[in-house]
């Protein structure tokens, strides 16, 4: 199985078949403990794993922590992975990511409840004082814009979290990892049409949820603009 990446400079596109990397060889080398192979796997799957984490939690720092946890687990569990192709390995890695997020939320639920100083975006439109304080320390950013971007992205994350796990995995696999329908179907053990249907329902649900707050494109573009402004 060869992988196809949507945006990666490391992927050579001059081979014509859009399948520049033999993942089974990379997996073999990584299992033998070769650091270079492990780095290759890391670079290849980092965008997908991080996107999955960032879509599950609005806090970028937490998303990065959870992403780190996933890749450390990957290093520890490489010799146990039975997958011999990219779809199998991606499925395993996304399962690790899903379990890691679930553990994070489970631990957070067990923590004692506290009254947050931060107002949730669903409650009102007040500016987050804590976020402002943090952002104010960064002279390169406009705290107001930064806060707005964060709030907008929180809305998106809330919407994504209401999707089913399968719908989320389809979106990440299709939009971030750039896998074709056949590969995603192989990853999920489903038929191509089922993947397409999941993809359709995921985007449709997302659009409907975001439309309740504002226009979806507006939300995303606004967040994008603020990020770029930073």
């Amino acid at each position: 199985m060869f992988l196809r990446r949507r945006s990666s400079e490391s992927v050579s596109s001059d081979q014509g078949d859009n399948r520049p990397m033999a993942i089974d060889h990379v997996l073999d080398h990584a299992r033998n403990g070769e650091g270079e192979a492990i780095s290759t796997l890391y670079h290849h799957f980092l965008p997908g794993v991080f996107a999955y984490m960032a879509s599950r939690t609005a806090d970028r720092t937490i998303a990065e922590d959870l992403t780190s946890e996933v890749f450390l687990k990957m290093v520890e569990g490489l010799h146990r992975v039975k997958a011999t192709n990219e779809a199998g390995f991606a499925a395993w890695l996304l399962q690790v990511a899903r379990i890691t997020v679930a553990e994070y939320y489970r631990k957070r639920e067990k923590q004692p409840a506290f009254v947050s100083l931060e107002s949730t975006v669903w409650q009102d439109d007040e500016i987050d004082a804590k976020s402002l304080a943090i952002a104010a320390s960064d002279p390169t950013s406009d705290p107001v814009l930064w806060s707005e971007a964060r709030e907008q992205w929180s809305i998106v994350v809330q919407a994504i979290n209401t999707l089913t796990e399968e719908q989320r995995q389809v979106l990440i696999s299709r939009l971030i990892l750039g896998y074709d329908v056949a590969t995603v179907a192989q990853m999920m053990g489903k038929k191509a049409n089922a993947v397409k249907a999941l993809q359709f329902r995921a985007l449709q649900s997302l659009e409907r949820l975001l439309a309740k707050r504002a226009q979806p494109e507006k939300l995303l573009s606004h967040a994008q603009q603020q990020e770029e402004a930073r």
């Binding site: 859009n18 650091g35 890391y42 998106v156 750039g178 397409k196 993809q199 979806p216 994008q224 990020e227």
Partner: protein, 402 residues
């Protein structure tokens, strides 16, 4: 042509418009020849949403984070490689956890119980075969026999066990020496007595007769055995063995008293007259358990010995060693002069049980013989406080009878 399902239309649009998918989309189009869908408001909105999701910076990795995480991950990888292999760690952990697991402890307990029972059975089996009383296992055997005796409820069973114990003690006598011999002989005597008591309590009948016969046979065998071991024993053991033989009904010499008569002609000679029963010719006299070579003559139911007398002697025991190895002894000693006056005697009750030590002779002797020797000076309190004679003679072993 039938219109495509909405999910198919959306997928078609996504592959057409999303960045990086054009090449795939073109391939798909060439393969499947699906109709181009240019204006589908619903699909267009979803495609726009997908494009925004795809491009949103919130889902993009920061290069700094990517670099830091890569370094951290590789360091973690190096640290993992320095550790023992997972298999070895797992095996060690498994071993350790298995070691303290409940089933393992149960196995150990069972093994210990099994081992103890095997060991106990082996010890008991070995002890049962032990015949030497000096063997430590013989103590175990005795304990085992006592347990058997305590579990025997009916008199008949008790008699059987006692009989068995008596036989065992009899067998052990051949290998016993010194104190062990005395103890074993005492045990044998005790079992015989116990057996007699049980027999007396048993009603007349088949069991009684059978046990009486077995006891009689055991007595015969005991007498024979004791006679066999007698020549190999020391004098004290011979004394108690002779006594036991008499207890078993054997005809052995019994001394009532000894009379020592000093000659008026020769102060270095004395005549010892032993009075008692079952004298046999050829016996040798023992003064304080020291064998004198002189042999006696039987006259009127007494055994008479003429011995060379050391004037300093003050004997506590006078005995006789018979040719069959039996020994008799008495502490009732009368001193007399040639005229027949009895001047002195030991008041200690005579016995022939080998009371060879610890006898305190509190004889009040007005010492006729000594008075003669000592110009008539009376001597009171001619005492010796222990059995070790005061004449420099050892009262331990003697040579086998001539």
């Amino acid at each position: 042509m039938r219109p495509l399902p909405e999910y198919e239309r959306l997928n078609h649009q996504l592959e057409k418009h999303l960045p990086g998918w054009q090449r795939k989309e073109q391939l798909d189009q060439s393969i499947r020849s699906v109709p181009t869908i240019e204006h589908d408001p619903e699909s267009d909105a979803l495609v726009a949403l997908a494009r925004h999701l795809q491009a949103t910076p919130s889902l993009q990795v920061h290069p700094d984070f990517a670099r830091r995480l890569e370094q951290r991950m590789l360091l973690h990888h190096v640290a993992l490689r320095r550790q023992p292999p997972e298999g070895a760690r797992h095996a060690a952990k498994t071993r350790a956890s298995w070691l303290f697991s409940r089933p393992f402890v149960a196995y150990i307990a069972m093994a210990v119980v099994l081992l103890c029972s095997l060991l106990g059975t082996s010890v008991l089996a070995l002890a049962a075969r032990a015949t030497n009383p000096s063997n430590p296992l013989y103590t175990v055997k005795k304990w085992e026999q006592q347990v058997q005796l305590s579990f025997a409820r009916s008199p008949s069973d008790q008699a059987e066990v006692s009989l068995q114990i008596a036989r065992d003690r009899l067998n052990a006598l051949a290998n016993a020496h010194g104190e062990t011999y005395r103890q074993t002989l005492a045990d044998l005597d005790g079992q015989m007595d116990a057996l007699m008591q049980i027999l007396n309590a048993l009603p007349a009948g088949q069991d009684h007769n059978r046990l009486a016969d077995e006891l009689a046979a055991l007595k015969v065998r005991a007498r024979r055995t004791l006679r066999e071991v007698l020549p190999h024993l020391s004098l004290p053991e011979r004394l108690i063995t002779t006594d036991e033989l008499g207890h078993l009904g054997d005809a052995v010499t019994q001394l009532n008293h000894a009379v020592i008569v000093f000659s008026s002609h020769s102060p270095t000679q004395a005549t010892i007259s032993l009075t008692g029963n079952n004298f046999s010719p050829g016996g040798h006299v023992l003064i304080d358990q020291v064998l004198l070579a002189d042999s006696g003559t039987l006259q009127n139911g007494a055994d008479i010995f003429v011995v060379n007398w050391n004037g300093e002697w003050s004997p506590h025991t006078i005995g006789i060693l018979n040719t069959d190895g039996t020994v008799a002894q008495t502490t009732v000693i009368l001193f007399s002069n040639a005229k027949g006056n009895t001047n002195s005697k030991n008041t200690q009750t005579g016995n022939n049980k080998g009371n060879t030590s610890g006898n305190t002779h509190t004889s009040n002797s007005s010492n006729g013989v000594n008075a003669n020797k000592q110009d008539g000076n009376s001597q009171n309190g001619n005492t010796t406080s222990n059995g070790s004679n005061s004449h420099g003679h050892k009262n331990n072993e003697i040579q086998p009878s001539p």
